[in-house]
Symmetry: C2
Subunit: 307 residues, 2 copies
Amino acid sequence: MANPIYVIGHQQPDTDAICSALAYARLKQAQGADVVPARAGAVNPETRFVLDRWNVETPTLIDDTAADRLILVDHNEYSQAVSGARDAEIVEVVDHHRIGDVQTSDPIFFRTEPVGSTATILTHLYNEADETIDTKTAGLLLSGLLSDTVLLRSPTTTETDRSIAKRLAETADVDREEYGKELLQQKSKLGEKQPREMVLSDFKEFEFGSNHVGIGQVETVEREVVLDQRNAILAAMDEIVSERDYAVLLLLVTDVLREESVALMAGGHAATVEDALDTSFTDREAFLPDVMSRKKQIVPPLEKNFS
Amino acid sequence: MANPIYVIGHQQPDTDAICSALAYARLKQAQGADVVPARAGAVNPETRFVLDRWNVETPTLIDDTAADRLILVDHNEYSQAVSGARDAEIVEVVDHHRIGDVQTSDPIFFRTEPVGSTATILTHLYNEADETIDTKTAGLLLSGLLSDTVLLRSPTTTETDRSIAKRLAETADVDREEYGKELLQQKSKLGEKQPREMVLSDFKEFEFGSNHVGIGQVETVEREVVLDQRNAILAAMDEIVSERDYAVLLLLVTDVLREESVALMAGGHAATVEDALDTSFTDREAFLPDVMSRKKQIVPPLEKNFS
Protein backbone atom coordinates (compact mmCIF):
# COMPACT_ATOMS: atom_id res chain seq x y z
CA MET A 1 0.00 0.00 0.00
CA ALA A 2 1.25 3.46 -0.81
CA ASN A 3 2.48 5.68 2.00
CA PRO A 4 0.38 8.73 2.80
CA ILE A 5 1.53 12.30 2.16
CA TYR A 6 3.46 13.41 5.24
CA VAL A 7 3.60 17.00 6.47
CA ILE A 8 7.03 17.23 8.05
CA GLY A 9 9.54 19.70 9.51
CA HIS A 10 13.33 19.55 9.53
CA GLN A 11 15.70 17.17 11.31
CA GLN A 12 16.43 18.02 14.94
CA PRO A 13 12.92 19.44 14.98
CA ASP A 14 12.22 22.49 17.11
CA THR A 15 8.82 23.62 18.33
CA ASP A 16 7.98 25.57 15.13
CA ALA A 17 8.81 22.51 12.98
CA ILE A 18 6.60 20.15 15.01
CA CYS A 19 3.72 22.56 15.62
CA SER A 20 3.71 23.67 11.97
CA ALA A 21 3.48 20.06 10.79
CA LEU A 22 0.52 19.49 13.14
CA ALA A 23 -1.27 22.73 12.29
CA TYR A 24 -0.79 22.46 8.53
CA ALA A 25 -1.89 18.81 8.48
CA ARG A 26 -5.05 19.86 10.28
CA LEU A 27 -5.77 22.59 7.72
CA LYS A 28 -5.16 20.25 4.77
CA GLN A 29 -7.36 17.60 6.38
CA ALA A 30 -10.13 20.16 6.89
CA GLN A 31 -9.85 20.84 3.14
CA GLY A 32 -10.27 17.15 2.40
CA ALA A 33 -6.63 16.17 1.79
CA ASP A 34 -5.32 12.82 3.03
CA VAL A 35 -2.20 13.90 4.92
CA VAL A 36 -0.49 12.82 8.14
CA PRO A 37 1.68 14.99 10.41
CA ALA A 38 5.19 13.59 10.88
CA ARG A 39 8.61 14.41 12.33
CA ALA A 40 12.21 13.75 11.32
CA GLY A 41 13.73 13.39 14.79
CA ALA A 42 13.30 13.36 18.54
CA VAL A 43 10.95 15.81 20.25
CA ASN A 44 12.91 18.27 22.40
CA PRO A 45 11.85 19.13 25.98
CA GLU A 46 10.28 22.44 24.99
CA THR A 47 8.14 20.81 22.32
CA ARG A 48 7.24 17.98 24.73
CA PHE A 49 5.93 20.64 27.11
CA VAL A 50 3.85 22.16 24.29
CA LEU A 51 2.35 18.85 23.17
CA ASP A 52 1.43 17.98 26.79
CA ARG A 53 0.08 21.46 27.51
CA TRP A 54 -2.28 21.36 24.49
CA ASN A 55 -2.96 17.67 24.78
CA VAL A 56 -1.88 16.88 21.22
CA GLU A 57 -0.55 13.57 19.96
CA THR A 58 3.13 13.48 18.95
CA PRO A 59 3.53 13.32 15.14
CA THR A 60 4.74 10.05 13.64
CA LEU A 61 8.52 9.57 13.38
CA ILE A 62 9.34 8.61 9.79
CA ASP A 63 12.46 7.81 7.78
CA ASP A 64 13.33 7.08 4.14
CA THR A 65 11.13 3.99 3.99
CA ALA A 66 8.07 6.20 4.36
CA ALA A 67 9.19 9.39 2.61
CA ASP A 68 7.50 9.08 -0.77
CA ARG A 69 5.46 12.28 -0.89
CA LEU A 70 6.29 15.14 1.47
CA ILE A 71 4.93 18.54 2.38
CA LEU A 72 7.92 20.36 3.85
CA VAL A 73 7.30 22.89 6.60
CA ASP A 74 9.88 25.13 8.29
CA HIS A 75 12.68 24.11 5.88
CA ASN A 76 13.36 23.84 2.17
CA GLU A 77 16.86 22.37 1.94
CA TYR A 78 17.51 18.68 1.39
CA SER A 79 20.42 18.66 3.85
CA GLN A 80 17.97 19.54 6.63
CA ALA A 81 15.15 17.26 5.53
CA VAL A 82 14.17 13.76 6.60
CA SER A 83 16.31 11.00 5.16
CA GLY A 84 14.92 10.02 1.76
CA ALA A 85 13.61 13.48 0.89
CA ARG A 86 15.89 13.79 -2.16
CA ASP A 87 14.12 10.82 -3.74
CA ALA A 88 10.66 11.80 -2.54
CA GLU A 89 8.14 13.90 -4.38
CA ILE A 90 7.95 17.33 -2.72
CA VAL A 91 4.26 18.17 -2.89
CA GLU A 92 4.24 21.56 -1.11
CA VAL A 93 6.54 23.84 0.87
CA VAL A 94 5.64 26.35 3.61
CA ASP A 95 8.66 28.00 5.22
CA HIS A 96 10.29 31.19 6.47
CA HIS A 97 13.95 30.44 5.67
CA ARG A 98 16.17 31.33 2.70
CA ILE A 99 15.39 29.55 -0.60
CA GLY A 100 17.32 26.28 -0.66
CA ASP A 101 17.84 23.55 -3.21
CA VAL A 102 14.43 21.92 -3.67
CA GLN A 103 13.55 21.41 -7.33
CA THR A 104 10.39 19.82 -8.71
CA SER A 105 9.14 18.53 -12.05
CA ASP A 106 5.66 19.93 -11.66
CA PRO A 107 4.38 23.28 -10.43
CA ILE A 108 3.56 23.07 -6.70
CA PHE A 109 2.32 25.28 -3.91
CA PHE A 110 5.53 26.81 -2.49
CA ARG A 111 5.29 29.63 -0.03
CA THR A 112 7.96 31.38 1.96
CA GLU A 113 7.71 34.74 3.67
CA PRO A 114 10.36 36.66 5.57
CA VAL A 115 8.60 36.45 8.95
CA GLY A 116 9.55 35.13 12.37
CA SER A 117 8.05 31.66 12.18
CA THR A 118 6.39 29.17 9.87
CA ALA A 119 3.46 29.29 12.30
CA THR A 120 2.92 32.92 11.25
CA ILE A 121 2.52 31.92 7.59
CA LEU A 122 0.22 29.04 8.54
CA THR A 123 -2.01 31.51 10.34
CA HIS A 124 -2.21 33.43 7.04
CA LEU A 125 -3.13 30.20 5.25
CA TYR A 126 -5.92 29.45 7.74
CA ASN A 127 -7.26 32.96 7.25
CA GLU A 128 -7.04 32.85 3.47
CA ALA A 129 -8.85 29.52 3.46
CA ASP A 130 -11.47 30.94 5.83
CA GLU A 131 -10.81 28.02 8.17
CA THR A 132 -11.41 28.51 11.91
CA ILE A 133 -8.38 28.20 14.18
CA ASP A 134 -9.53 26.22 17.22
CA THR A 135 -8.09 26.69 20.73
CA LYS A 136 -5.67 23.78 20.43
CA THR A 137 -4.35 24.84 17.00
CA ALA A 138 -3.99 28.43 18.23
CA GLY A 139 -1.93 27.05 21.15
CA LEU A 140 0.34 25.13 18.78
CA LEU A 141 0.78 28.06 16.37
CA LEU A 142 1.45 30.49 19.22
CA SER A 143 4.06 28.10 20.63
CA GLY A 144 5.86 27.83 17.29
CA LEU A 145 5.78 31.60 16.86
CA LEU A 146 6.97 32.49 20.38
CA SER A 147 9.64 29.78 20.35
CA ASP A 148 11.13 30.81 17.00
CA THR A 149 11.05 34.53 17.76
CA VAL A 150 12.28 34.05 21.36
CA LEU A 151 9.13 35.64 22.68
CA LEU A 152 9.09 38.29 19.90
CA ARG A 153 12.60 39.46 20.86
CA SER A 154 14.55 37.99 17.92
CA PRO A 155 15.49 40.39 15.08
CA THR A 156 13.55 38.11 12.72
CA THR A 157 10.35 39.33 14.40
CA THR A 158 8.08 41.43 12.17
CA GLU A 159 4.98 43.52 12.84
CA THR A 160 2.98 40.67 11.30
CA ASP A 161 4.35 38.28 13.93
CA ARG A 162 3.39 40.65 16.72
CA SER A 163 -0.18 41.13 15.60
CA ILE A 164 -0.67 37.42 14.86
CA ALA A 165 0.80 36.46 18.25
CA LYS A 166 -1.72 38.75 19.90
CA ARG A 167 -4.66 37.17 18.10
CA LEU A 168 -3.43 33.62 18.63
CA ALA A 169 -2.98 34.24 22.36
CA GLU A 170 -6.58 35.46 22.54
CA THR A 171 -7.87 32.39 20.71
CA ALA A 172 -5.70 30.05 22.78
CA ASP A 173 -6.88 31.90 25.88
CA VAL A 174 -3.44 32.36 27.43
CA ASP A 175 -1.44 35.35 28.58
CA ARG A 176 1.22 35.72 25.87
CA GLU A 177 4.03 36.92 28.13
CA GLU A 178 3.33 34.42 30.86
CA TYR A 179 2.96 31.48 28.49
CA GLY A 180 6.05 32.57 26.55
CA LYS A 181 8.15 32.63 29.69
CA GLU A 182 7.01 29.13 30.58
CA LEU A 183 8.22 28.07 27.12
CA LEU A 184 11.59 29.83 27.51
CA GLN A 185 12.17 28.07 30.80
CA GLN A 186 11.82 24.72 29.03
CA LYS A 187 14.40 25.85 26.50
CA SER A 188 16.75 26.77 29.29
CA LYS A 189 16.81 23.42 31.08
CA LEU A 190 20.33 22.84 29.95
CA GLY A 191 22.05 21.75 33.16
CA GLU A 192 21.13 18.16 32.51
CA LYS A 193 22.41 18.05 28.94
CA GLN A 194 25.61 16.39 27.76
CA PRO A 195 28.01 18.64 25.75
CA ARG A 196 27.41 16.71 22.52
CA GLU A 197 23.67 17.03 22.98
CA MET A 198 24.00 20.78 23.53
CA VAL A 199 25.79 21.18 20.20
CA LEU A 200 23.41 18.99 18.22
CA SER A 201 20.00 19.59 19.73
CA ASP A 202 19.24 22.67 17.60
CA PHE A 203 21.56 22.08 14.70
CA LYS A 204 21.56 22.88 11.00
CA GLU A 205 23.83 21.95 8.13
CA PHE A 206 24.61 24.11 5.11
CA GLU A 207 26.51 23.78 1.85
CA PHE A 208 28.32 27.04 1.22
CA GLY A 209 29.99 26.55 -2.15
CA SER A 210 31.84 23.29 -1.61
CA ASN A 211 32.07 23.80 2.15
CA HIS A 212 30.06 21.65 4.51
CA VAL A 213 29.21 23.86 7.49
CA GLY A 214 27.35 23.01 10.71
CA ILE A 215 25.83 25.61 13.01
CA GLY A 216 24.31 24.73 16.36
CA GLN A 217 22.50 27.11 18.63
CA VAL A 218 21.73 27.01 22.35
CA GLU A 219 19.19 29.58 23.48
CA THR A 220 19.37 30.13 27.19
CA VAL A 221 18.73 32.49 30.05
CA GLU A 222 21.68 30.95 31.91
CA ARG A 223 24.66 31.44 29.65
CA GLU A 224 27.09 30.69 32.47
CA VAL A 225 25.69 27.19 32.92
CA VAL A 226 26.61 26.49 29.32
CA LEU A 227 29.99 28.23 29.23
CA ASP A 228 31.07 26.51 32.44
CA GLN A 229 31.30 23.41 30.26
CA ARG A 230 33.15 25.19 27.44
CA ASN A 231 36.14 22.81 27.21
CA ALA A 232 33.94 19.72 27.14
CA ILE A 233 31.73 21.36 24.51
CA LEU A 234 34.75 22.25 22.33
CA ALA A 235 35.98 18.66 22.61
CA ALA A 236 32.56 17.41 21.50
CA MET A 237 32.65 19.89 18.59
CA ASP A 238 36.08 18.63 17.46
CA GLU A 239 34.75 15.09 17.56
CA ILE A 240 31.72 16.06 15.41
CA VAL A 241 33.94 17.92 12.90
CA SER A 242 36.07 14.84 12.31
CA GLU A 243 33.08 12.49 12.16
CA ARG A 244 31.18 14.61 9.65
CA ASP A 245 34.01 16.35 7.86
CA TYR A 246 32.79 19.91 8.43
CA ALA A 247 34.82 22.80 7.08
CA VAL A 248 33.58 24.80 10.08
CA LEU A 249 31.39 24.04 13.05
CA LEU A 250 29.94 26.90 15.06
CA LEU A 251 27.93 26.83 18.26
CA LEU A 252 26.01 29.98 19.10
CA VAL A 253 25.25 30.33 22.78
CA THR A 254 22.50 32.92 22.72
CA ASP A 255 21.40 34.78 25.80
CA VAL A 256 17.76 35.43 25.00
CA LEU A 257 17.25 38.06 27.67
CA ARG A 258 20.46 40.03 27.11
CA GLU A 259 19.92 39.58 23.34
CA GLU A 260 23.53 38.67 22.54
CA SER A 261 25.54 35.55 21.74
CA VAL A 262 28.86 33.88 22.29
CA ALA A 263 30.16 31.75 19.41
CA LEU A 264 32.39 28.70 19.85
CA MET A 265 34.28 27.40 16.82
CA ALA A 266 35.72 24.10 15.62
CA GLY A 267 37.22 23.18 12.24
CA GLY A 268 39.27 25.54 10.06
CA HIS A 269 38.68 28.78 8.14
CA ALA A 270 38.87 31.02 11.20
CA ALA A 271 39.83 34.06 9.11
CA THR A 272 36.83 33.63 6.79
CA VAL A 273 34.47 33.29 9.73
CA GLU A 274 35.96 36.26 11.56
CA ASP A 275 35.71 38.40 8.45
CA ALA A 276 32.11 37.30 7.80
CA LEU A 277 30.95 37.94 11.36
CA ASP A 278 33.10 41.02 11.85
CA THR A 279 34.58 39.69 15.06
CA SER A 280 37.72 37.96 16.29
CA PHE A 281 38.03 34.67 18.09
CA THR A 282 40.21 34.35 21.15
CA ASP A 283 40.79 30.85 22.36
CA ARG A 284 38.06 29.65 19.92
CA GLU A 285 35.45 31.95 21.44
CA ALA A 286 33.97 35.22 20.15
CA PHE A 287 31.44 37.63 21.57
CA LEU A 288 28.65 38.68 19.19
CA PRO A 289 26.69 41.65 20.56
CA ASP A 290 23.08 41.93 19.26
CA VAL A 291 23.28 38.55 17.52
CA MET A 292 20.25 36.35 18.20
CA SER A 293 19.36 34.84 14.83
CA ARG A 294 21.38 32.13 13.13
CA LYS A 295 19.22 32.50 10.05
CA LYS A 296 19.39 36.24 9.67
CA GLN A 297 22.69 37.24 11.22
CA ILE A 298 25.00 34.26 10.80
CA VAL A 299 24.01 32.29 7.68
CA PRO A 300 23.90 35.16 5.11
CA PRO A 301 27.36 36.64 5.86
CA LEU A 302 28.94 33.18 6.11
CA GLU A 303 27.40 32.14 2.82
CA LYS A 304 28.67 35.28 1.13
CA ASN A 305 32.21 34.87 2.42
CA PHE A 306 32.42 31.16 1.66
CA SER A 307 31.10 31.45 -1.90
CA MET B 1 23.39 55.66 -8.36
CA ALA B 2 21.97 52.29 -7.45
CA ASN B 3 19.59 50.61 -9.88
CA PRO B 4 16.00 50.25 -8.70
CA ILE B 5 14.37 46.91 -7.92
CA TYR B 6 12.97 45.55 -11.19
CA VAL B 7 9.88 43.35 -11.42
CA ILE B 8 10.60 41.16 -14.42
CA GLY B 9 9.36 38.10 -16.31
CA HIS B 10 11.36 35.53 -18.30
CA GLN B 11 13.28 35.91 -21.54
CA GLN B 12 11.21 35.72 -24.72
CA PRO B 13 8.43 37.22 -22.61
CA ASP B 14 4.86 36.19 -23.27
CA THR B 15 1.76 38.14 -22.28
CA ASP B 16 1.60 36.64 -18.76
CA ALA B 17 5.26 37.60 -18.14
CA ILE B 18 4.80 41.21 -19.25
CA CYS B 19 1.37 41.77 -17.70
CA SER B 20 2.45 40.16 -14.42
CA ALA B 21 5.47 42.44 -14.19
CA LEU B 22 3.22 45.47 -14.74
CA ALA B 23 0.49 44.36 -12.35
CA TYR B 24 2.83 43.29 -9.55
CA ALA B 25 4.89 46.48 -9.83
CA ARG B 26 1.66 48.46 -9.46
CA LEU B 27 0.70 46.49 -6.31
CA LYS B 28 4.15 46.92 -4.76
CA GLN B 29 4.10 50.64 -5.58
CA ALA B 30 0.69 50.99 -3.97
CA GLN B 31 2.25 49.42 -0.87
CA GLY B 32 5.01 52.00 -0.93
CA ALA B 33 7.82 49.96 -2.53
CA ASP B 34 10.19 51.60 -5.00
CA VAL B 35 10.00 49.13 -7.90
CA VAL B 36 9.96 49.43 -11.69
CA PRO B 37 8.35 46.99 -14.17
CA ALA B 38 10.83 45.57 -16.68
CA ARG B 39 11.19 42.97 -19.42
CA ALA B 40 13.95 40.65 -20.59
CA GLY B 41 13.19 40.65 -24.31
CA ALA B 42 11.08 41.89 -27.20
CA VAL B 43 7.34 42.33 -26.83
CA ASN B 44 5.48 39.81 -29.02
CA PRO B 45 2.52 40.88 -31.23
CA GLU B 46 -0.08 39.50 -28.81
CA THR B 47 1.38 41.47 -25.92
CA ARG B 48 1.69 44.56 -28.11
CA PHE B 49 -2.04 44.28 -28.80
CA VAL B 50 -2.71 44.07 -25.03
CA LEU B 51 -0.54 47.06 -24.14
CA ASP B 52 -2.22 49.14 -26.85
CA ARG B 53 -5.71 47.95 -25.92
CA TRP B 54 -5.28 48.95 -22.26
CA ASN B 55 -3.14 51.97 -23.02
CA VAL B 56 -0.24 50.87 -20.82
CA GLU B 57 3.39 51.84 -21.24
CA THR B 58 5.77 49.07 -22.32
CA PRO B 59 8.01 47.97 -19.41
CA THR B 60 11.70 48.93 -19.57
CA LEU B 61 14.02 46.53 -21.39
CA ILE B 62 16.95 45.70 -19.09
CA ASP B 63 20.07 43.57 -19.23
CA ASP B 64 22.87 42.56 -16.83
CA THR B 65 24.05 46.13 -16.34
CA ALA B 66 20.78 46.91 -14.54
CA ALA B 67 19.97 43.56 -12.91
CA ASP B 68 21.07 44.14 -9.31
CA ARG B 69 17.89 43.41 -7.42
CA LEU B 70 15.07 41.49 -9.11
CA ILE B 71 11.55 40.40 -8.35
CA LEU B 72 10.99 37.43 -10.66
CA VAL B 73 7.50 36.84 -12.00
CA ASP B 74 6.35 33.94 -14.18
CA HIS B 75 9.69 32.06 -13.86
CA ASN B 76 12.08 30.87 -11.20
CA GLU B 77 14.97 29.34 -13.17
CA TYR B 78 18.17 31.21 -13.93
CA SER B 79 18.36 29.77 -17.46
CA GLN B 80 15.10 31.58 -18.28
CA ALA B 81 15.89 34.81 -16.47
CA VAL B 82 17.32 38.10 -17.69
CA SER B 83 21.06 38.08 -18.28
CA GLY B 84 22.80 38.89 -14.98
CA ALA B 85 20.15 37.30 -12.77
CA ARG B 86 22.61 34.76 -11.33
CA ASP B 87 24.64 37.59 -9.85
CA ALA B 88 21.62 39.67 -8.83
CA GLU B 89 19.84 39.60 -5.51
CA ILE B 90 16.50 37.84 -5.97
CA VAL B 91 14.16 39.82 -3.74
CA GLU B 92 10.87 38.01 -4.40
CA VAL B 93 9.38 35.35 -6.67
CA VAL B 94 5.77 34.96 -7.87
CA ASP B 95 5.28 32.12 -10.33
CA HIS B 96 3.19 29.16 -11.44
CA HIS B 97 5.95 26.89 -12.83
CA ARG B 98 7.94 24.03 -11.31
CA ILE B 99 10.47 24.95 -8.61
CA GLY B 100 13.76 25.76 -10.32
CA ASP B 101 17.25 26.61 -9.13
CA VAL B 102 16.95 29.98 -7.41
CA GLN B 103 18.74 30.05 -4.06
CA THR B 104 19.01 33.00 -1.69
CA SER B 105 21.01 33.96 1.39
CA ASP B 106 18.10 35.56 3.17
CA PRO B 107 14.47 34.53 3.63
CA ILE B 108 12.33 36.12 0.92
CA PHE B 109 8.72 36.20 -0.23
CA PHE B 110 8.49 33.26 -2.66
CA ARG B 111 5.14 32.15 -3.90
CA THR B 112 4.22 29.57 -6.48
CA GLU B 113 0.85 27.93 -6.96
CA PRO B 114 -0.16 25.23 -9.43
CA VAL B 115 -2.62 27.42 -11.36
CA GLY B 116 -2.96 28.46 -14.99
CA SER B 117 -1.15 31.80 -14.89
CA THR B 118 0.96 34.07 -12.74
CA ALA B 119 -1.81 36.65 -13.22
CA THR B 120 -4.10 34.35 -11.21
CA ILE B 121 -1.73 34.41 -8.21
CA LEU B 122 -1.31 38.17 -8.51
CA THR B 123 -5.08 38.55 -8.28
CA HIS B 124 -4.84 36.61 -4.99
CA LEU B 125 -2.11 38.97 -3.80
CA TYR B 126 -4.22 42.03 -4.61
CA ASN B 127 -7.12 40.52 -2.68
CA GLU B 128 -4.98 39.52 0.30
CA ALA B 129 -3.54 43.03 0.45
CA ASP B 130 -7.04 44.50 0.16
CA GLU B 131 -5.86 46.52 -2.80
CA THR B 132 -8.39 47.53 -5.48
CA ILE B 133 -7.85 46.17 -8.98
CA ASP B 134 -8.57 49.04 -11.38
CA THR B 135 -9.96 48.56 -14.90
CA LYS B 136 -6.56 48.72 -16.58
CA THR B 137 -4.93 46.26 -14.18
CA ALA B 138 -7.90 43.91 -14.52
CA GLY B 139 -7.41 44.07 -18.30
CA LEU B 140 -3.72 43.20 -17.97
CA LEU B 141 -4.33 40.35 -15.51
CA LEU B 142 -7.17 38.95 -17.61
CA SER B 143 -4.92 39.05 -20.69
CA GLY B 144 -2.13 37.14 -18.91
CA LEU B 145 -4.62 34.58 -17.62
CA LEU B 146 -6.44 34.01 -20.93
CA SER B 147 -3.20 33.93 -22.91
CA ASP B 148 -1.48 31.39 -20.65
CA THR B 149 -4.53 29.14 -20.35
CA VAL B 150 -5.41 29.47 -24.06
CA LEU B 151 -8.77 30.94 -23.18
CA LEU B 152 -9.24 28.53 -20.21
CA ARG B 153 -8.83 25.50 -22.52
CA SER B 154 -5.33 24.40 -21.46
CA PRO B 155 -5.11 21.44 -19.00
CA THR B 156 -3.26 23.76 -16.61
CA THR B 157 -6.55 25.61 -16.08
CA THR B 158 -8.02 25.26 -12.58
CA GLU B 159 -11.37 26.21 -11.05
CA THR B 160 -9.57 29.15 -9.45
CA ASP B 161 -8.53 30.42 -12.88
CA ARG B 162 -12.10 30.18 -14.13
CA SER B 163 -13.63 32.10 -11.26
CA ILE B 164 -10.88 34.73 -11.28
CA ALA B 165 -11.21 35.18 -15.07
CA LYS B 166 -14.92 35.81 -14.60
CA ARG B 167 -14.33 38.50 -11.98
CA LEU B 168 -11.49 40.15 -13.90
CA ALA B 169 -13.62 40.33 -17.07
CA GLU B 170 -16.33 42.08 -15.07
CA THR B 171 -13.87 44.59 -13.63
CA ALA B 172 -12.22 45.14 -17.02
CA ASP B 173 -15.69 45.47 -18.52
CA VAL B 174 -15.09 43.12 -21.46
CA ASP B 175 -16.79 39.98 -22.71
CA ARG B 176 -14.37 37.22 -21.76
CA GLU B 177 -14.96 34.98 -24.78
CA GLU B 178 -14.95 37.81 -27.27
CA TYR B 179 -11.84 39.46 -25.82
CA GLY B 180 -10.10 36.09 -25.53
CA LYS B 181 -10.71 35.32 -29.18
CA GLU B 182 -9.24 38.68 -30.17
CA LEU B 183 -6.14 37.71 -28.18
CA LEU B 184 -5.90 34.26 -29.79
CA GLN B 185 -6.06 35.83 -33.23
CA GLN B 186 -2.95 37.89 -32.38
CA LYS B 187 -1.20 34.69 -31.36
CA SER B 188 -2.11 33.11 -34.65
CA LYS B 189 -0.65 35.75 -36.95
CA LEU B 190 2.10 33.40 -37.95
CA GLY B 191 2.08 33.69 -41.71
CA GLU B 192 4.48 36.60 -41.58
CA LYS B 193 7.01 34.94 -39.28
CA GLN B 194 10.36 33.54 -40.33
CA PRO B 195 11.01 29.87 -39.36
CA ARG B 196 13.70 30.78 -36.82
CA GLU B 197 11.38 33.31 -35.23
CA MET B 198 8.62 30.69 -34.97
CA VAL B 199 10.93 28.36 -33.04
CA LEU B 200 12.29 31.01 -30.70
CA SER B 201 9.40 33.37 -30.08
CA ASP B 202 7.94 31.33 -27.21
CA PHE B 203 10.99 29.37 -26.14
CA LYS B 204 12.30 27.93 -22.88
CA GLU B 205 15.54 26.27 -21.88
CA PHE B 206 15.95 23.57 -19.27
CA GLU B 207 18.78 21.66 -17.62
CA PHE B 208 17.70 18.04 -17.26
CA GLY B 209 20.58 16.37 -15.45
CA SER B 210 23.52 17.40 -17.60
CA ASN B 211 21.37 17.82 -20.71
CA HIS B 212 20.68 21.24 -22.13
CA VAL B 213 17.19 21.07 -23.65
CA GLY B 214 15.23 23.73 -25.56
CA ILE B 215 11.47 23.62 -26.08
CA GLY B 216 9.63 26.08 -28.27
CA GLN B 217 5.90 26.30 -28.67
CA VAL B 218 3.71 27.81 -31.36
CA GLU B 219 0.08 28.14 -30.41
CA THR B 220 -2.11 28.53 -33.44
CA VAL B 221 -5.54 28.10 -34.93
CA GLU B 222 -3.91 27.54 -38.32
CA ARG B 223 -1.65 24.55 -37.87
CA GLU B 224 -1.33 24.07 -41.60
CA VAL B 225 0.20 27.50 -42.09
CA VAL B 226 2.98 26.44 -39.76
CA LEU B 227 3.49 22.89 -40.99
CA ASP B 228 3.61 24.05 -44.61
CA GLN B 229 7.01 25.45 -43.65
CA ARG B 230 8.10 22.27 -41.87
CA ASN B 231 11.37 21.73 -43.74
CA ALA B 232 12.49 25.30 -43.28
CA ILE B 233 11.58 25.12 -39.59
CA LEU B 234 13.55 21.88 -39.11
CA ALA B 235 16.55 23.49 -40.83
CA ALA B 236 16.28 26.46 -38.44
CA MET B 237 16.07 24.03 -35.51
CA ASP B 238 19.23 22.19 -36.63
CA GLU B 239 21.00 25.52 -36.85
CA ILE B 240 19.92 26.48 -33.32
CA VAL B 241 20.99 23.07 -31.93
CA SER B 242 24.50 23.48 -33.25
CA GLU B 243 24.76 27.11 -32.16
CA ARG B 244 23.59 26.44 -28.60
CA ASP B 245 24.68 22.85 -28.14
CA TYR B 246 21.28 21.46 -27.17
CA ALA B 247 20.94 17.75 -26.42
CA VAL B 248 17.40 18.00 -27.78
CA LEU B 249 15.33 20.78 -29.29
CA LEU B 250 11.57 20.37 -29.57
CA LEU B 251 9.01 22.61 -31.19
CA LEU B 252 5.40 22.04 -30.17
CA VAL B 253 2.92 23.23 -32.73
CA THR B 254 -0.25 23.40 -30.68
CA ASP B 255 -3.66 23.67 -32.24
CA VAL B 256 -5.52 25.58 -29.56
CA LEU B 257 -8.98 24.83 -30.89
CA ARG B 258 -8.51 21.12 -31.60
CA GLU B 259 -6.53 20.89 -28.32
CA GLU B 260 -3.69 18.79 -29.71
CA SER B 261 -0.08 19.26 -30.79
CA VAL B 262 2.47 18.19 -33.35
CA ALA B 263 6.07 18.02 -32.13
CA LEU B 264 9.10 18.61 -34.36
CA MET B 265 12.49 17.41 -33.12
CA ALA B 266 16.14 18.34 -33.62
CA GLY B 267 19.24 17.06 -31.80
CA GLY B 268 19.71 13.51 -30.50
CA HIS B 269 18.13 11.29 -27.83
CA ALA B 270 15.09 10.39 -29.96
CA ALA B 271 14.48 7.18 -27.99
CA THR B 272 14.47 9.01 -24.64
CA VAL B 273 12.04 11.61 -25.95
CA GLU B 274 9.77 9.01 -27.52
CA ASP B 275 9.70 7.01 -24.33
CA ALA B 276 9.01 10.12 -22.20
CA LEU B 277 6.19 11.36 -24.39
CA ASP B 278 4.85 7.92 -25.18
CA THR B 279 4.90 8.55 -28.90
CA SER B 280 7.06 7.80 -31.92
CA PHE B 281 8.63 10.23 -34.35
CA THR B 282 8.37 9.63 -38.08
CA ASP B 283 10.51 11.88 -40.21
CA ARG B 284 11.23 14.03 -37.06
CA GLU B 285 7.54 14.67 -36.45
CA ALA B 286 5.16 13.19 -33.86
CA PHE B 287 1.46 13.72 -33.17
CA LEU B 288 0.56 14.37 -29.53
CA PRO B 289 -3.20 14.09 -28.97
CA ASP B 290 -4.53 16.11 -26.00
CA VAL B 291 -1.18 17.83 -25.46
CA MET B 292 -1.48 21.59 -25.01
CA SER B 293 0.84 22.41 -22.10
CA ARG B 294 4.61 22.40 -22.36
CA LYS B 295 4.86 22.92 -18.62
CA LYS B 296 2.50 20.21 -17.51
CA GLN B 297 2.64 17.58 -20.24
CA ILE B 298 6.11 17.87 -21.78
CA VAL B 299 8.59 19.12 -19.15
CA PRO B 300 7.82 16.66 -16.29
CA PRO B 301 8.11 13.41 -18.34
CA LEU B 302 11.21 14.68 -20.16
CA GLU B 303 12.85 15.67 -16.91
CA LYS B 304 12.13 12.26 -15.40
CA ASN B 305 13.53 10.36 -18.38
CA PHE B 306 16.62 12.53 -18.72
CA SER B 307 17.60 12.44 -15.05
